[in-house]
Amino acid sequence: MKVVVCVKQTPSTTATISVNDNVVTWEDTGSGKPNVVNPWDEYTIEEGIRLKENHGATETIALTFGSADSVDVLRTGLAMGCTSAVHISNEGAEEVDALDTAAVLAAAIEKVEDVKVAMCGKQAIDGDSGVMPMLVARKLGWTPLTFVAAINEITEDSITVERLLENGRQVITAKLPVVMSVVKEINEPRYPSFMGIRKANRATVPTWSLDDLGVSVSAPRVNWQKIYSLPAREGSVEMIDGDSMNDKAKKLVDKLFEEKVI
């Protein structure tokens, strides 16, 4: 049984993001690393590796779709313990919408063969749509299991998981193959070991083109007409002062009643 983890490269959380003429750029002067593994995907990678370590999966394959430098996120996956990785090049298809991206990932998962569990993070912190796992499931015709917080049991042909929903936790059993998205509660991602990093840096990562996958992409179904910065917040913080704690509390509560938020 093979497991595929879909990983995306995103701007780092602490990156400063700017937009000019609808073109988004970013830099991270603090960490010096402007691009990272999408934070939600760290849980995906970890869970994919655990399925191999603890539940009899034979391989855990990391997959990404993007530019040449997005291979970096695959090396992170390899350093953590993925057995191999595949880069799908977006050359000639820089603007791909969610549905076509799902078609690309689905075709790659099929090309890997014998995959029983495909996983994605809950959402990516750039597009923030949170729809990719379901779209990939539909493109493959596999059962979707989204927002998974725990895998209770996995056998040769079925899986039981807990899905974290607004009103509680749903326990659900499905036949394999499935496409899962996982939330943070599912695990605590490991740090890559020094040996892991060395091994990952030496690993050969094959690149597949859209032609290799037999997928063609259409014009995006969604246009980002205008991208812009948040309007600056009016005013600055009003610090509440007072002679005593009770006095401060009284003043704060007065303000909140005036704001009509109570």
Partner: protein, 322 residues
């Protein structure tokens, strides 16, 4: 044929708040487009939910009511949603951007090869298209997005739109037989969330951060939330430390919330936390460290030990609220 549809979520026989908000936003959109508004209801014993949809402004209701739909499963609800949308001839479908709403809008988009916009915070109509504004890049930017051709599928962030108001409207729903024979998944349990208000629906959230110091440190924070009828939030650090369960986490790898009032107690306000709460209407920061980044985002700040400030604030609210 064309029309605007709203996917209605129900839980324990009642319409979810986010669906009331979706009805409000969709009613306005339908009016601006000069189209009718259809509510799509799927579940078991949902006649009351259909009636509520008429009352909240739907011109018509199409749905399926079946024992096999008692609990949400994507494979049961998804094909039905596609079928109902097609039978009603809808060309715009609006839903809440909940776990279920994200699932269902994506299912529909894949089936109909249609454009999909998730988590919109504002809608307007331009000609015959809907322009949806949505936060992107962890809430650091906004994007006005549009689906230029064909079916338009849009989900809405909780609490970004005012809920529809009662119109006194009524009507009879069109019930379609659900063909839910061969479904491979089985729901074997549901653990309902214990007490308290759902974070994404909450008007008031009181959150604790590293400053609470341990699991017991949440007691005054929880007490203030209870006094205000609000929900209890938490920073990532406290969840990672095991002081409070994950479903309380606000921020980048937790929940995104936009309450009327957000009170951050002992939370420094890292960029990851801000990503989850920056759209709150009024933000109050209570922190010992006057240099904490949270004060840069807050509307009101109190510098002090949360174990002194929070109980004093709670006592004051108790006095006023009786």
């Amino acid at each position: 044929m064309s029309g605007v549809g709203v996917y209605i979520e129900n839980y324990e026989g009642k319409m979810m708040t986010v669906s009331q908000e979706a009805l409000g936003a969709a009613r306005q959109t339908a009016n601006d487009l000069g189209k009718s508004l259809t509510a799509v209801v799927i579940g078991q014993n949902v006649a009351d939910v259909a009636a509520a949809a008429f009352d909240l402004g739907a011109d018509s209701v199409i749905g399926s009511d079946h024992a096999a739909l008692a609990e949400y499963r994507a494979e049961a609800f998804g094909p039905l949603l596609t079928q109902l949308v097609q039978e009603a001839g809808l060309d715009v479908l609006i839903a809440g951007a909940t776990t279920q709403g994200r699932d269902m809008t994506a299912w529909l988009a894949a089936d109909l090869n249609a454009g999909l916009i998730a988590d919109a915070t504002a809608l307007k109509v331009d000609g015959d298209r809907v322009v949806a504004t949505r936060p992107v890049y962890a809430g650091k930017l906004l994007s006005d997005t549009v689906i230029p051709e064909g079916m338009q599928i849009i989900s809405l962030r909780s609490r970004a739109f005012a809920p529809a108001e009662s119109t006194g409207g009524s009507g009879s729903a069109q019930w379609v037989d659900a063909n839910v024979g061969d479904i491979s998944t089985e729901v074997t349990g549901f653990k309902a969330k214990e007490g308290g208000v759902s974070l994404t629906d909450a008007k008031i959230i009181v959150s604790g951060g590293r400053g609470v110091g341990g699991p017991e440190g949440f007691d005054p924070v929880r007490a203030l939330a209870d006094t205000l009828g609000g929900a209890l939030g938490a920073s990532r650090a406290t969840v990672d430390a095991g002081w409070i369960p994950y479903d309380h986490q606000v921020g980048q790898t937790g929940k995104t919330v936009s309450p009327d009032l957000y009170i951050a107690c002992g939370i420094s306000g890292a960029i990851q936390h801000q990503a989850g709460m920056r759209t709150s209407k009024i933000i109050v920061a209570i922190n010992k460290d006057s240099e904490a980044p949270i004060f840069g985002l807050a509307h009101y700040g109190v510098v002090g030990d949360l174990f002194d400030v929070v109980p004093a604030v709670e006592a004051e609210f108790k006095k006023r609220l009786g």
